[in-house]
């Protein structure tokens, strides 16, 4: 098992798990989100090829009001 952090919330995952598998489990809202891991942007095309590692900080952002 590995421990990762999704928007600062602790999550346990099987090792290995790729980002696409983790997202399928967490069910984020539709297509309307973008991801960064450890402060580095991960393009959607790379989700399946991105293996998560113990301690990864995953940032999942959605559209929000802004000025």
């Amino acid at each position: 098992m590995i421990t990762v952090w999704l928007n600062s919330e602790q999550k346990q995952l099987e090792d290995p798990t790729c980002l696409a598998e983790a997202l399928a489990r967490w069910q984020p809202p539709g297509e309307g989100f973008a991801i960064a891991i450890n402060d580095v942007f991960v393009p959607r095309a790379n989700y399946a090829a991105t293996q998560l590692r113990d301690g990864d900080q995953i940032e999942l952002l959605v559209p929000m009001q802004g000025g």
Binding site: G32, A34, V40, E59, L61, P63, M64, G66, G67
Partner: protein
């Protein structure tokens, strides 16, 4: 029509999507403003803060050009990553680049802003930097490749209007070929008109409309103010004078005695 980067726009008003009393008032106010560009942001999903897919659906119904921001970023790294995420999520290369240097008045960090600008332009972004009205900073942003600059009128959300007209006017005079938009600090339609009269290409505002007692009516007021300001600029505002000069002809003044 005027040109903002590679887009032709009718309105010179750019409007924000935050702080409205309700999503439907946001939609109505943005429509009433006539703005062709709307700003938005990215955040962690938080049902109590709105946003997410419902907000996204409402905004898409408006069918406007999207200008995502990097609000809240205090470092170059955060701003660059947020811009990259915004580009994918909103399918636009436009970014309103904010790198905040001071938490108290949300003043842009000129050094971080310039560094982030250089990197994002090298990655193909159209960077619209939220900057101070410092001439040298603005020149360096242009040297970095910015075609558009967005100096503040006053700190975000203060509604104080154009607190340094001299500096803003200097920018306009020294940068006749750069698209200049006053971003932040606009409180009243007269402030927006003043910026346009000065020759600014547009204004970007949010709080002044969203926090008005009647945001939809205020949006209409800003729409007219921006049009009036631009028309006045094109018509040529008379130069100010120190001494009075009568407007009524002196010739034939009654009761005149030599």
């Amino acid at each position: 029509m005027w040109q903002l980067a590679d887009q032709s726009l009718e309105s010179r008003l750019l409007i924000g999507s935050a702080l409205y009393p309700s999503p439907s008032i946001m939609q109505d106010a943005i429509r009433a403003s006539g703005a062709g560009v709307v700003t938005l942001s990215l955040r962690r999903q938080n049902p109590s803060a709105g946003g997410g897919n419902d907000f996204w659906a409402l905004l898409r119904e408006l069918d406007l050009h999207l200008l995502p921001n990097t609000a809240g970023c205090h470092s170059v790294k955060e701003a660059i990553t947020t811009a990259q995420m915004a580009r994918e999520l909103f399918d636009t290369r436009w970014i309103k680049l904010e790198v905040i240097g001071d938490e108290y008045n949300l003043q842009p960090d000129p050094f971080g802003l310039l560094e982030a600008t250089r990197e994002l332009i090298s990655q193909g972004f159209e960077v619209l930097p939220y900057c101070t009205d410092d001439l040298v900073l603005c020149e360096k942003l242009v040297d970095a490749g910015c075609r558009i600059l967005m100096p503040w009128g006053a700190p975000i959300g203060t509604g104080k209007g154009l607190i340094n007209p001299y500096a803003l006017n200097t920018l306009r005079q020294r940068m006749p070929d750069i698209t200049l938009i006053v971003d932040a600090g606009i409180g009243a339609p007269s402030h927006a008109a003043q910026a346009l009269e000065m020759g600014y290409d547009g204004v970007l505002l949010n709080t002044a409309v969203a926090q008005a007692s009647d945001p939809v009516a205020m949006a209409r007021a800003f729409k007219h103010a921006v049009s009036a300001g631009r028309l006045a600029y094109e018509a040529g505002v008379m130069p100010a004078r120190d001494m009075a000069q009568p407007s009524t002809p002196v010739l034939g003044t009654p009761f005149w005695k030599p």
